[in-house]
Amino acid sequence: MRAFLTARGYLEVETPILGPHATPDRHLESVPAAGGFLHTSPEFAMKRLLAAGSGPIFQIVKAFRAGESGRHHAVEFTIAEWYRMGPLDGLLTEMDLLLGDILGTLPAERRTYRELFLAAAGVDPLTAAEDRLVTLAEAHGYPGRPDDRAAALDYLFSRLVEPGLGAGVPTIVTRFPAPLAALARLSDDDSRTAERFEVFWAGLELANGYDELQDPEEHRRRFAAENRARARAGKPAAHPDGRFLAALEHPGIPRCSGVALGVDRLVMAALGASRLDEIVAFRETPGD
């Protein structure tokens, strides 16, 4: 992976694993350490390097997510994350080549979130009323009642769509609904979708990426929404990194696309393993 990215002009970087800020992401919990937090991904620090003019960069690093432990999850795991200039096309083409090198797979089939969801659930994820999505999630065993559109969509997609993805060739799911934009920019031609993608192989998510959001105000709005959701769920607020927000203002991050890939899962896929335990030598992290 290093050779692949280095040969394509990416500079390998290192950013701090221990920092002062927890992630504001509503569904991620940072591990507290030494008065601060271990990072859940190197995303914010790498974007500060991009703002500082680093050009294309990559990093292969350990990341930590509290409470995530299971067949395909570990509290401590390895992320490969890289960023290149421009919109998604170049990144997706490289992803095909990288997966071809490591898994021996043919180029991925690219499917929009909307077409996959519509085929599996019979409901349009962009236009269906929230009530309809909520009721459908309940009918498929959602515990309790989903809080909002995003929660219903996420649950239904994971139950009905994901298990069948990446059979034969990898699947790249594109154009996620706007409520699931995370830190992706909205599509230029349709504000109901975001330029976020995920890569699946044999029903397992391997990678998640964005055509990166640049607008500082929109970042603030999305972080505030995450913290409101955290408050509703009784989770502590997480204040975003002020230096990251400042870098978005000035000089700003260039138009770029980035992706985070689960290295442990890629190794599982390459070896045909069905559990992380089969490919990691140590499974001793507290909480795992």
């Binding site: 409470g67 995530e68 299971g70 067949r71 065993g141 515990p143 995003a150 649950y155 994971s158 995920e198």
Partner: protein, 190 residues
């Protein structure tokens, strides 16, 4: 305050209360779609009904522990309505209604040691030994020389159970039976 288990403590074999019934977890899986919410999916058996079901929890949810204990007891007697057992360590006696026997009462012989599932210190289920040796009290006369053809006939055992046995089996012989299939296994030398 009842003992509870959070989803991160879920393990197969755990006994919990679901739908107000004691259940045992068979399989648990942590699932977290993309950047979405985390869930724990379980497969469990309702110990009362025997049904196997699936359920999804939000990670962090808690369920009440079920006071379920698997132990062994000696079968004492049946008074027609209830079946009576004794804990061989404490000599404490427990009675079980027919529903707890699940049709296994026909294998029980006085003094036999059985698996017992206790729920809130009352008998929930009886598990007879996988193999029991029981005497034949009634069957048609044996037909010598017909051991090879594999024919069969009914035999009534000392517990009242009626099973299919080979034609050469005689009254007063002791047979080994598989209680899971209800089938004859072999003769046992007296």
């Amino acid at each position: 305050m009842a003992n509870t288990y959070a989803t991160n403590e879920f393990r197969s074999g755990l006994k919990v209360l679901l739908d107000s019934d004691p259940c045992v977890l068979l399989d648990c899986e942590f699932v977290k779609p993309g950047k979405g919410q985390a869930f724990t999916r379980i497969r469990y058996r309702n110990l009362k009904t025997g049904r196997v079901l699936d359920k999804t929890f939000k990670s962090g949810e808690k369920v009440e522990a079920a006071d379920v204990l698997d132990t062994e007891m000696e079968f004492l007697y049946s008074d027609g309505g209830d079946w009576h057992f004794m804990d061989p360590n404490t000599y404490e006696q427990y009675s079980a209604a027919k529903s707890a026997l699940g049709g296994h009462e026909k294998w029980l012989l006085q003094g036999m040691t059985c698996g017992v599932t206790l729920y809130n210190d009352a008998i929930l289920l009886i598990h007879p030994p996988h193999f029991v040796d029981l005497k034949v009290v009634e069957t048609e006369p044996g037909i010598r020389g017909d051991t090879a053809t594999g024919g069969s006939k009914n035999a009534t055992l000392e517990t009242g159970a009626v099973v299919r046995v080979p034609l050469f089996i005689e009254v007063d012989e002791t047979l080994r039976l598989d209680t899971r299939t209800g089938e004859y296994v072999s003769r046992v030398k007296n």
